[in-house]
């Protein structure tokens, strides 16, 4: 068979077109491997929000070899919006307990920082959710990440297809970044735990309210890029009163009675997912994150405190995420 000039040109064009479509999918999405050899997770029992959380959390933190002496600690709670009686936000008492613990452990400074994704009036969310008064009483500084100084930051993973993000200086200069999520289901991401909680560091002043660009670039992809770029050093997850169903705003409160601590966000989220009755490997950002950001496999986790017991009835989810639940 003879190859004509026309065949050659058509073939070349097809090859170029095919490559331009397929190469982005074949290129590696990450060039780092932050996975520790083993990860430690603690599940603490806590039936309600009370002043006793201080002691519970302090005892839990002693199960880890954390050294924050002289370090700038940034606590990143999940503070989205406020609705009376709902389990939308990380409870302020847990955040205060964490601030107090890290101060006692010798931190140079402890700051609470968040950039609410839905509500532009951060002060309104702070006052309605009880944060403002609590933080003022305990003299804990709050930084609105939606309006903090921004630094162009190259992304350390390439799932979104963006080279960089403008990220808040407070987060980038933190020596010890603690993600403090509310354990919730999420109608776009399946779950919102310590990894999804990091959406809050993406500034509204640069990316809008909600941070719509992350949705357009892919929520799971964005979670991975943000977590690779602003590494979480520790997780304190609020599962005392969790949320199921149409989260993150309109779900139903679900008492879980637990706080999850971990020195690895992937390990934390995998454990939280199991506590919700979900298979972590079916949650895209946890599965993909376990390739380079942390550990999700039970054999790589040192479990302390309570053991992981999946609930008799898994958390409710929107129909698109029914397959997350254990069979």
């Amino acid at each position: 068979m003879r190859l004509t000039r026309r065949d050659f040109l058509v073939g070349s064009a097809a090859l170029v077109a095919g490559s331009s479509v397929s190469v982005p999918f074949l290129l590696p999405k990450y060039h780092i491997d932050c996975r520790p050899r083993r990860s430690r997770v603690a599940i603490l029992q806590a039936a309600r929000y009370s002043q006793e959380l201080d002691q519970t959390l302090a005892a839990g933190l002693r199960l880890f070899s954390i050294d924050v002496r002289g370090k700038r600690v940034v606590l990143k709670p999940n503070l989205v919006d406020y609705a009376a009686g709902d389990a939308i936000n990380t409870h302020p008492l847990l955040v205060l307990a964490a601030a107090e613990s890290f101060r006692r452990m010798g931190a140079k400074s402890v700051v609470v920082a968040e950039g609410p994704g839905h509500q532009r009036d951060t002060e309104l969310v702070l006052s309605q959710s009880g944060y403002q008064e609590s933080l003022r009483d305990e003299k804990v500084r709050f930084v609105d990440l939606n309006r903090d100084e921004l630094v162009r930051t190259p992304l350390r993973a390439a799932y979104m297809g963006m080279r960089d993000l403008w990220l808040p200086r407070t987060v980038l200069e933190a020596d010890f970044l603690v993600s403090m999520p509310k354990i919730k289901t999420h109608h776009w991401a399946g779950v919102t735990l310590s990894m999804k909680n990091m959406f809050g560091v993406v500034p509204g002043s640069r990316y809008g309210w909600p941070k719509n660009i992350l949705h357009w670039k892919g929520i799971q992809e964005s979670i991975l890029d943000v977590c690779a770029t602003a590494p979480v050093r520790f997780v304190i997850a609020d599962g005392i009163l969790a949320m199921e169903g149409n989260g993150p705003l309109n779900g139903t409160p679900r008492p879980l009675g637990k706080i999850v601590l971990a020195d690895d966000p992937i390990a934390a989220d995998a454990t939280c997912a199991r506590l919700m009755g979900f298979e972590p490997e079916r949650i895209v950002h946890i599965r993909e994150g376990s390739r380079f950001l942390g550990n999700s496999a039970p054999e790589l986790l040192d479990q302390v405190g309570e053991t992981v017991n999946a609930p008799a009835t898994p958390f409710e989810v929107v129909p698109e995420f029914q397959d997350l639940r254990f069979a």
């Binding site: 109608h187 640069r206 309109n250």
Partner: protein
């Protein structure tokens, strides 16, 4: 009347009413926070000049013209992007941002800025939510229907390559409404404003009021926000009799007395004043908030100044009360 940070005490005279004293103190604080470049940072502790606080500060200082206002206008002219838009902050990428609408309004009465404003307006006319494109319209009609909205009714996004949202659409409408009707080359302005108004009416929450722009998600109503509601109402002043506007005014009147956050309270005062609703008690509440000059967020500080002189502020925003 001209304010200068070195002359703050001069304005604290006993003959002034309490609110004027408060206002003069806040204006003085605003001037103190102005950066050497002429812009303002979003937070008092920051030194990164940003456009939103600069535009609100310039609008607030427009009530008291002076050197600080001139420096702010110079800063705005210097930070305009080559494509006519304005960035979110000095040093940002040059694609453009929603604050272009604010910059156009902040430069409204500045004659030498007319060419810059026109370039800004042309950019605004080219800037639209992604759902204005046929492909995304089709997608939102067929496969992506969890958020209830009509993709035929589009406005403006916060930043390029995303869909329309309530706040950027409102400010774009306000900015475009300030154009003289004789402006040549901008024949599409009425069409875009009309679509923007339709989009706002479409995105309302079921019981009135607006949030960022998601009225119903997964069939469940999402709660409105007082600031977003007040801002949207400013752009709908000419549609007062529309049921959506009426229910949203009622929502705002209901929620406003409970507000203790100055940003939302200030927007509520501006919106309710625009519709001729009673605001005396809200105004008193705002003046009585403790430590107003210590507000960390400079956007909020400037907005309080605007709310305390709401008639002139509404005029600066092109809203007739």
């Amino acid at each position: 009347m001209c304010f200068d940070s070195k002359q703050v005490s001069h304005y604290k005279v006993p003959t002034m009413t309490t609110d004027r004293v408060v206002l003069s103190g806040l204006i003085a604080e605003l001037i103190l926070r102005q950066l050497p470049c002429g812009g303002w940072a979003a937070l008092a502790s920051s030194s990164q000049p940003a456009l939103e606080p600069t535009c609100f500060a310039a609008l607030a200082l427009g009530l008291f013209p002076g050197g600080a206002l001139g420096r702010a206008q110079e800063f705005l002219l210097h930070t305009q992007n080559p494509n006519g838009s304005w960035p979110a902050f000095a040093g940002d990428d040059t694609d453009g941002a929603w604050v272009t609408s604010l910059a156009v309004m902040a430069l409204h009465d500045v004659i030498p800025a007319i060419p810059a404003k026109l370039r800004g307006v042309h950019w605004l006319m080219s800037f639209a939510g992604k759902e204005s494109n046929w492909f995304w319209k089709w997608k939102f009609r067929t496969t992506d229907r969890h958020v209830r909205f009509d993709p035929d009714k589009f406005g403006w996004p916060w930043f390029p390559d995303t869909v329309s949202w309530v706040v950027p659409t409102t400010f774009a409408i306000l900015a475009l409404n300030q154009l003289p009707s004789s402006c040549g080359g901008l024949e599409q302005v009425p069409f875009r404003v009309e679509r923007g108004v339709e989009m706002l009416l479409d995105r309302v929450c079921p019981d009135g009021g607006w949030n960022a722009g998601n009225g119903v998600v997964y069939g469940v109503p999402v709660a409105p926000h007082p600031d977003d509601t007040a801002i949207a109402l400013l752009a709908l002043r000419e549609h007062e009799r529309h049921p959506v506007v009426q229910s949203s005014i009622h929502y705002l009147e209901r929620i406003a007395p409970s507000l203790t956050a100055p940003w939302s309270l200030a927007w509520a005062i501006l919106a309710l004043a625009a519709y001729g609703r009673p605001i005396d008690s809200l105004y008193s509440s705002l003046v009585a908030l403790p430590k107003l000059p210590n507000v960390d967020d400079t956007n909020t500080l400037a907005l309080i100044c605007l709310a305390l002189d709401y008639q002139r502020a509404l005029s600066a925003l092109g809203v007739t009360s």
